[in-house]
């Protein structure tokens, strides 16, 4: 479904991704783990067209999207929940969600999907009339995920959805991701919480300073001694 081959990305003189190749098959959850600065977020942003690549090729369902502008990539069925609390602070939670369906014109379908998101995240329903900037940190983090789902994507890119959340909420988020995936959405998940991510993913990649260091089935990575000592705390 998604194939990234030999991707090179620079920020000015900094070589952020050095020949990265990653793929995701339809219906999978694929996770990218790695330390800060490994290039995980850069990879997601390059796929969604927010960051330009210098070399390499990205294809989605057989189509070359390497040079496509971000808003057209969304149109193909890829949506992204950017890292942290990228919310529209002055707009209400509900408008934030509905902006996820910005490219859709089927009002009825949008409302239906909005209700689905509210079922997944009842907290957002309670807060729907509040402006997003006044939500708690955790609630703000749910918004980009909900927003990404309102587009009814075929592939969703999630960037550190559990960052800085309470353990209980983390578990809830991962359960939700699992649920989303069972609904037929392919998930590319960037996480620092390697244990949680690998336990719901089918395959995983370990990124290290712009390289793919390891690539394996998630269950195998969980048992890998190198991964264990570096990312799973022993």
């Amino acid at each position: 479904m998604l194939e990234v081959r030999d991707l090179d990305v620079y920020y000015g003189a900094i070589h952020a991704l050095k020949g990265v190749s990653v793929r995701a098959e339809s219906g999978e959850i694929v996770t990218l783990i790695g330390a800060n600065g490994a290039g995980k977020t850069t990879l997601l942003r390059t796929i969604s067209g927010l960051v330009p690549s210098r070399a390499g090729r990205i294809t989605f369902e057989g189509r070359d999207i390497t040079k496509m502008p971000a808003h057209e990539i969304v149109g193909l069925g890829i949506s992204q929940a950017p890292e942290g609390r990228m919310v529209f602070a002055n707009l209400t939670a509900e408008v934030n969600l509905e902006l996820g369906a910005y490219l859709r014109r089927d009002r009825a379908g949008i409302l239906e999907d909005r209700e689905r998101v509210y079922t997944l995240f009842p907290r957002l329903k309670e807060r729907r009339r509040q402006s997003a900037g006044t939500l708690s940190g955790g609630e703000q983090q749910l918004l980009p995920i909900g927003r990404a789902l309102l587009w009814r994507p075929r592939l969703v890119l999630l960037d550190e959805p559990s960052l800085g959340l309470a353990p209980l909420l983390v578990r809830e988020i991962f359960r939700t991701i699992h649920q989303i995936n069972r609904g037929g959405v392919t998930v590319l998940l960037v996480e620092q919480n390697a244990h949680m991510a690998l336990s719901i993913a089918s395959r995983g990649y370990v990124l290290e300073t712009g390289h793919v260091r390891l690539e394996d089935r998630a269950s195998a990575l969980l048992e890998n001694p190198e991964v264990k000592s570096a990312y799973l705390g022993g």
């Binding site: 990228m86 002055n90 910005y102």
Partner: protein, 327 residues
């Protein structure tokens, strides 16, 4: 049908006021009222860029100048001839002048919108301070051009513009810019603009063509700035480059910020306030501008989010305030 009735009602009310007001008010108050209207058009239109879309333009006087000089040149060289022909053919004076003015205003506004498009384009790659400098540069270029091109009067100014603009036309322009802004704010397009303001990257990630919308905001905004310029030209009957300096742009920004970025009613309120205030302070003589500046400072300290923040005054809003007060 309902919209047509609304339009007819507005035209009727403006027509009556246009007849009554000049008799009820002395010419000085009438002039202040007209300038208020023109300021409202300027402020509400700049609010589309600075308030809705979160871009920072400080070249609004430039767009206004394009509209003012464009429409004035049209009237001087073409429109005045039309009016003579129409009147000699027996058309009523108001109709002939109104028609000529309408065409002149459209010419000025479209020219300003084209300028807005051209300035909007480089703004795609620029943000914040950098964009501000580009718009500042644009405003200055326009000012230098009109100060030096002889065909538009250069530094002597452009006299003899037919004074066709009356309360009716200024009122109509105010209604137009407010209706367009409100409709935009409540549409998908408006939401796209707000999304760009709050977080451009996230907006892009949702499929908002941020490029297109930023240019769109510039085009609509400069169209109305041009309209305000055209009205000013045809009300004042004389144009001078000094009316379109950098200070004029700052004045409009002050209106938008004071009213509350993003709030249409805030821009209206502040535009009226900042037009009336310097007049009301005339009795303070040389202290006038000192008091004016002090009042601005005090207002911004006491209401840092602007008079209305990003709220709007509407019937709905007032109703909610009342019921909240009772509860």
């Amino acid at each position: 049908m309902k919209q047509l009735a609304g339009l007819a009602l507005i035209l009727g009310v403006l027509g009556i006021l246009n007849f009554v007001l000049p008799q009820a008010l002395n010419p000085y108050f009438m002039r202040v009222l007209m300038l208020c209207g023109i300021s409202v058009v300027l402020a509400v239109s700049l609010n589309l860029i600075n308030g809705f879309t979160g871009q920072f333009s400080i070249g609004h006087a430039g767009f206004m100048a394009v509209g003012a000089y464009g429409s004035a040149m049209f009237s001087l060289h073409v429109g005045a001839g039309w009016v003579r022909t129409l009147e000699s053919a027996g058309a009523p004076e108001a109709a002939a002048q109104g028609l000529a003015l309408l065409v002149a205003l459209m010419v000025g506004s479209v020219l300003a919108a084209i300028a807005g498009y051209l300035v909007g384009l480089p703004s795609l790659r620029l943000r914040g301070d950098y964009l501000a400098i580009v718009t500042l540069g644009f405003g200055e270029i326009i000012r230098v051009i009109i100060t030096n091109v002889d065909a538009v009067g250069a530094a002597r100014g452009l006299p003899g513009i037919p004074g066709w603009a009356n309360f009716f036309w200024v009122g109509l322009a105010v209604v137009a810019v407010v209706v367009v802004s409100r409709r935009l704010a409540n549409s998908t397009h408006g939401r796209a603009l707000f999304a760009i303001r709050d977080d451009e990257i996230a907006a892009e990630a949702l499929g908002v063509d941020t490029t297109r919308y930023k240019v769109l905001a510039f085009v609509i905004s400069s169209f109305f700035a041009g309209l305000a310029g055209g009205l000013f030209a045809h009300y004042n009957a004389y144009l001078h480059p000094n009316s379109f300096t950098f200070l004029k742009s700052i004045e409009v920004i002050a209106m938008v910020v004071l009213g509350g970025l993003g709030s249409i009613s805030g821009s209206i309120l502040a535009a009226i306030l900042l037009t009336v205030l310097p007049e009301a302070l005339r009795s303070a003589q040389e202290l006038r501008m000192v008091i004016y500046s002090l009042m601005l400072i005090v207002l911004m300290i006491t209401r840092p989010g602007g008079l209305l923040g990003n709220r709007e005054i509407s019937l709905d809003f007032l109703r909610r305030r009342r019921s909240a007060g009772r509860a």
